[in-house]
């Protein structure tokens, strides 16, 4: 990349931009043509419907009575935000997000350490670790639902401290455990692969030096390995947290929101598709989108994630 043009563009006051050469202009034109289809398609299915949701959220509009569409301003937002259901579902979602990402980070890191060390059977391990990643979430949900079932599952008989006729899906906490088990099972491998790539970037010389200086295994982990793969960890956490915040498939399949296990995505879906309440449903859609932005913002600020740094662009 010609750095000259970039610095000039970044700093228009101090360095007046030279007139574009024919070549620069041709490059700009070609680039725009190449990028346009992707950009249009991405915006067509996200920005445009999102604007429409913004518009619809101002109406009392139900598909069961489409002729009674009526402008109500911010009434739908007031209704949603003053309803305890909305806050309960948000809390459930945040709870699931924090617990699953914490487990995935710890287990995924342990897996990455093992995979980094292993010299034999690398292909077999990589193949198996990709299987949970590839398995359809709905299938994972079914597998775990039946595994936890007291009628047809094996979990109760394998866990010594659980009664064989304990019904996991009869109350909230145990249902959430089952849902999170499926979520953690499916996504930990992805996390471990991201961390493995980060681990590979930690220099061996530094580790050897620490070893020679008499650092214990824990000291090497905390003082050398973790600080050096900070960027990889942060990117993995950001990606996974935002993904976990959208949790829908597992809840739909395993409990259908029963026993207060509903997530914010599931609430939105239920309003729009099952009850045809497009007005309040659109308001919930907008709130869901805004809450994802808030979560992303908090994580980026809290952990100082630098995506460009992670991609080594600086």
């Amino acid at each position: 990349m010609t750095t000259y043009v970039q610095t000039a563009a970044d700093d228009p006051d101090t360095a007046p931009r030279p007139p574009d050469s024919d070549r620069t202009r041709a490059e700009n034109n070609l680039a725009r043509k190449l990028v346009a289809p992707a950009l249009i398609l991405m915006l067509l299915v996200t920005a445009f419907p999102m604007l429409r949701a913004l518009y619809l959220s101002m109406f009392d509009y139900s598909l069961t009575a489409p002729d009674d569409k009526e402008f109500v301003g911010f009434q739908n937002y007031a209704t949603a935000l003053s309803d305890w259901l909305f806050w309960r579902d948000t809390l459930t979602t945040v709870f699931i997000m924090i617990v699953t990402v914490a487990f995935e980070l710890v287990i995924g890191f342990a897996f990455a350490m093992v995979m980094h060390k292993v010299i034999f059977a690398r292909g077999v391990i990589r193949t198996s670790i990709l299987i949970p990643y590839g398995v359809i979430t709905v299938v994972s949900g079914f597998a775990w639902q039946f595994a936890f079932s007291y009628q047809n599952g094996f979990v109760n008989s394998w866990l010594p401290f659980i009664d064989t006729d304990f019904n996991w899906f009869a109350e909230r906490n145990s249902s959430l455990i089952a849902i999170m088990a499926s979520e953690i099972w499916k996504t930990t491998p992805f996390m471990s692969l991201l961390l493995l790539a980060g681990l590979a970037q930690v220099s061996n010389d530094m580790l050897e030096a620490a070893k020679v200086d008499g650092a214990t295994w824990w000291q090497r982990l905390y003082k050398v390995i973790l600080p050096n793969m900070r960027a990889a960890i942060m990117v993995a956490v950001l990606f996974r947290a935002l993904d976990a915040y959208r949790i829908f498939d597992n809840i739909f399949v395993m409990t259908a929101g029963a026993n207060k296990t509903e997530s914010i995505s599931f609430l939105t879906y239920r309003q729009v598709i099952e009850q045809f309440q497009l007005g309040i449903g659109s308001a919930l859609s907008v709130l869901l989108f805004l809450s994802v932005l808030v979560v992303a913002f908090v994580i980026v600020k809290l952990f100082k994630v630098d995506l460009a740094d992670a991609r080594q662009e600086n």
Partner: protein, 281 residues
């Protein structure tokens, strides 16, 4: 010497744990698919089918005889393949521009892609549901292909632009010195070099489309376009209070086979693609 043995044992145990973690639920769903319907109805706890509780291949025969499920398999394969093909072609063009050309708005494209990758898909379901019914896209293949393309483009663009940056610059310039235009340099020099990266992006895109559930249940209503995950979740059988667990398991295994085949053949490429977009430059 002793720590060496210790760490070897540790690694060995670690490998065993990883394999158990990854494969246990898969073996479980296969085992469940061989339990007979009667055994499941009466309750048959335990990992493997009990004595006399096995069904042989009966569940697989039943699920493949089911017209709705066969339609779903056909839909899923068709929709996922078309979406993958189109998405990868469009992403390749964009990624080339991002990795190779200097242009205004590059940051905007990358940021848009990132935001969309993290977009809460459910929040689009309402407006899309409404729009698709107006445009007569509701319950059709294009109605699913279009959103699948939009949501796989970010991953494909990021993966591909990371791959493209590794390709030697000089070859493209050499072609241009020899009189090739920018477009010719792209088609004749870069495309063959980039093929492996493109292939990786295609596999990841296919995984996404195959896995999708939210659009699958919201934007379809009949077997005309309903993909496998949605069909599985609506699979109730004769008795709605007693889900046909073993039949479902057989359907789930059928849905997982293509993924396992892809993973077996292309594991190296998939790992490279998954991490290229996020960690490596």
């Amino acid at each position: 010497m002793q720590t060496d043995v210790k760490s070897k044992i540790g690694t060995f145990v670690g490998v065993a744990v990883i394999l158990a973690w990854c494969l246990l639920p898969v073996v479980w769903i296969i085992s469940l698919s061989f339990k007979s319907q009667e055994a499941v109805t009466n309750g048959s706890p335990g990992f493997f089918p009990s004595d006399g509780g096995g069904a042989g291949w009966q569940n697989y025969k039943d699920v493949l005889d089911n017209g709705q499920f066969r339609h779903a398999v056909f839909n899923s394969i068709g929709i996922s393949l078309i979406a993958t093909l189109l998405s990868v072609v469009i992403a390749t063009l964009a990624a080339y521009a991002i990795a190779r050309l200097d242009f205004k708005g590059k940051k905007f494209v990358l940021t848009t892609a990132l935001v969309i990758a993290m977009f809460p898909v459910v929040s689009l379901v309402g407006p899309l549901f409404d729009m698709w019914r107006t445009f007569h896209l509701y319950d059709t293949w294009p109605g699913l292909i279009i959103p699948y393309m939009s949501f796989t483009l970010p991953l494909a663009i990021w993966t591909l632009s990371a791959f493209f940056r590794e390709i030697p610059w000089e070859m493209e310039q050499a072609a241009q010195v020899d009189g090739a235009t920018a477009w010719q340099a792209f088609r004749k020099v870069i495309v063959p070099l980039a093929a492996p990266g493109v292939f990786t992006a295609a596999i990841l895109t296919f995984f996404f489309a195959w896995n999708d559930f939210v659009f699958g249940i919201s934007l379809t209503s009949t077997e005309k376009a309903r993909p496998i995950p949605a069909a599985l979740s609506f699979f109730v059988g004769q008795d709605p209070f007693n889900r046909p667990a073993s039949l479902l398991a057989a359907g789930a295994v059928v849905a997982t086979v293509p993924i396992v085949v892809l993973v077996l053949f292309f594991q190296r490429k998939i790992v490279a693609g998954l991490t290229a977009g996020a960690v490596k430059g």
